[in-house]
Amino acid sequence: MHRIWAMIERDLRRFRRSPVLVVVSIIMPLVQLVVLGYAFGGKIKNLQVGVVDEDHGVPAIKLHEMFQAVAANAQTFTPIYYSDKAVALTDLRNGKISGMLDIPPEFSRKILTGANPRVALVEDNTDQFAASALEGSLDGLLPAYNAPTVSPRLSATATLAIVEVYPYVPYIQFLLPGVIVLAIFISAMIGGGIIFIDDKARGLHEGYLVTPISKFELICGFTLSGAAKAIIAGLVLITVGSVIAGIPDPLNPLRLARMFLLVVATAMALISMMFLIMVRVNDPLVPRAVFGMLNTVLYFPSGAVYPTQSFPAWMKVITVVDPFSYAVHGFKELILKNTGLMAISGDLLFLCCFTAAAMTAATLLFRRTL
């Protein structure tokens, strides 16, 4: 045991003198949290929408008024009036406007006679986010347009009442669990991948190998010292990240204690995975080359940035075996719902089993010779 502690002590002393590792592994996820959180989190506003009125009747003017109301209040879109439909279409194709609303001739007459009146939305669907926002806004606007001026006291129409269990979760808070796991991953990648292989290439491992240290002690020493640094990165993110993302009561001791447990389990799982990948690698280029690929393959299918329910079947397979998925799910439970340990027991169990399997495989593959 004292040999394992010697390895951990060596790594932590090196880290204390040169803490660039944790700084790097913290800064990037924090930047991502702030930039992505605010970039994706806000509502889409001020879309330029062309309006071509070929009718000019009173019902059409009522529509104009409603467009103006949206522009003044929700500000989802701003109507720009065109007299020529061809010009509006050209502007749509050239990207000057995001959509074109066409009020066709005879619209007013069809309204008054109840002959299926329609307005057409021609949208630039190359930008799905803007198109969805525009559709959503108009979907809400037309029922209001069709509603009778005076509502009946008793209605036979079924309506949906929505009750939100938790307070509104902005996207930056939704992103935070993934960002914490990403910080732990970057730390594991640098500590357990790049520095591990660099030390091996420099001959530092030779120093260990000529001592009577056992293979198991070596694996434990490498894993625990790498995990210690990843845990530090994780702890900074669960506190600083929670404050930045505006999590209510961010320093709640009970929640922090539960998160600490999950940080340790995540760090152990990711560092042992990294060690398993790097156990037979000697070339310093390899960890650098696989860094980006691993990041993409593990981070995005985990549900950290988008719900996993939307994934194709093949990507769901990655989600099931990806330790990121369980870590992200666990942090979501703790951060967004402030749940107890029972809610994340499945995640903790998977991460512990994953760690045991990866460390066993790494021990079997590890060569105690050069």
Partner: protein
């Protein structure tokens, strides 16, 4: 009993044989030098003896323990200084030694005393708490020597300990090794390609070339074993085809070797052979472009036994050559 016994030891990497059936023994208290050019198999041999590389064939015992079956006992008996400087640059000298003392299981109460004593022996006491990145190459190497001795081993392996050091540091390292050997009753096995160092400090030398043992004896006996007391190294312009044979007929010449128009003439009387050589060249209208006369050295021994001089050889690329390695100060 010998401290190191090597029997027909072989190491192959695919089709390439790095060490080819080496056999020798090292007595207790010896400084035993392994001499050879880069790629001769010295480092592979050291790595096998220090349990870092498994042999392909043959056997070896270190301190009476088999290097394959009793590897852990071997590791407990030996101190190893690898070719690359591997101290942690961010840590201080004391921290470096302390970590290794813990890896060897030295109890806390003994640790402090051993480290203090070792730092004094390698003249680093005043730099004990300074980070190693501030040390010169010679100081780093001395620290590594101390690190290799932290668990008080019986046998000390050093792989080219003076490579890359300036002449003053080289002398300091060798003096330190000689002193430590006497004070700690060590057996030292060292590889080098510096002939002069090996000549001065080694009790016995094994010349290794292409993985094979070319010669093994004390420096004195090795020098005495080759023909001639002096070596004349001469190059000529316009030498006729039978020039080597004509040089061989000069007085006191024991042997003539010609390699790329450099004639190495072994003579039992250097001055007389030189005079006759000058006369012979003038008579045959052959111009002498360079001429040196020297006493027999280990270089001459090496050339005699291997048929060529120490020179660079191609070898497998090293991972440390990678441009992707993180820079350290």
């Amino acid at each position: 009993m010998f401290d190191v016994e090597v029997q027909n030891l072989t190491k192959r990497f695919g089709d390439f044989t790095a060490v080819d059936g080496l056999s020798f023994a090292v007595e207790h208290g010896e400084i035993f030098g392994l001499l050879g050019p880069n790629g001769a198999g010295k480092s592979t041999l050291i790595r096998m003896l220090t349990t870092l590389v498994p042999p392909t064939g043959g056997t070896a015992k270190v301190n009476g323990f088999d290097i394959v079956r009793q590897a852990n006992q071997v590791r407990q008996s030996i101190g190893v200084i690898p070719q690359a400087m591997t101290s942690d640059l961010e840590l201080s000298a004391v921290e470096n030694l302390s970590i290794f003392a813990k890896l060897y299981g030295i109890p806390r109460e003994r640790r402090k005393r051993v480290i203090g004593q070792l730092l004094a022996e390698v003249d680093l006491t005043q730099w004990a708490d300074k980070p190693v990145k501030m040390f010169s190459g010679g100081m780093r190497r001395r620290l590594e020597i101390a690190r290799g001795l932290v668990h008080e081993p019986k046998i000390f392996f050093l792989d080219e300990p003076t490579t890359g050091l300036d002449p003053v540091s080289r002398v300091a390292v060798w003096d330190m090794l000689a002193k430590l050997k006497h004070e700690r009753d060590l057996t030292i096995l060292v590889t080098t390609h510096y002939m002069d160092e090996a000549d001065k400090l080694c009790d016995r030398i094994a010349i290794i070339d292409h993985g094979k043992l070319a010669a093994l004896d004390s420096p004195l006996k090795l020098k005495a074993s080759i023909p001639g007391k002096n070596i004349l190294e001469v190059s000529f312009a316009g030498a006729p085809a039978d020039w080597a044979a004509r040089l061989g007929r000069l007085s006191d010449v024991a042997e003539v070797k010609n390699e790329e128009n450099i004639f190495r003439i072994s003579s039992n009387n250097g001055p007389r052979t030189t005079i006759e050589l000058l006369e012979a060249a003038r008579g045959a209208d052959v111009a002498i472009t360079s001429l040196s006369v020297q006493s027999t050295t280990l270089d001459d021994v090496f050339v005699h036994y291997t048929g060529h001089q120490l020179r660079d050889a191609l070898q497998a690329p090293n991972a440390t050559d990678s441009p992707f390695l993180m820079k350290r100060p």
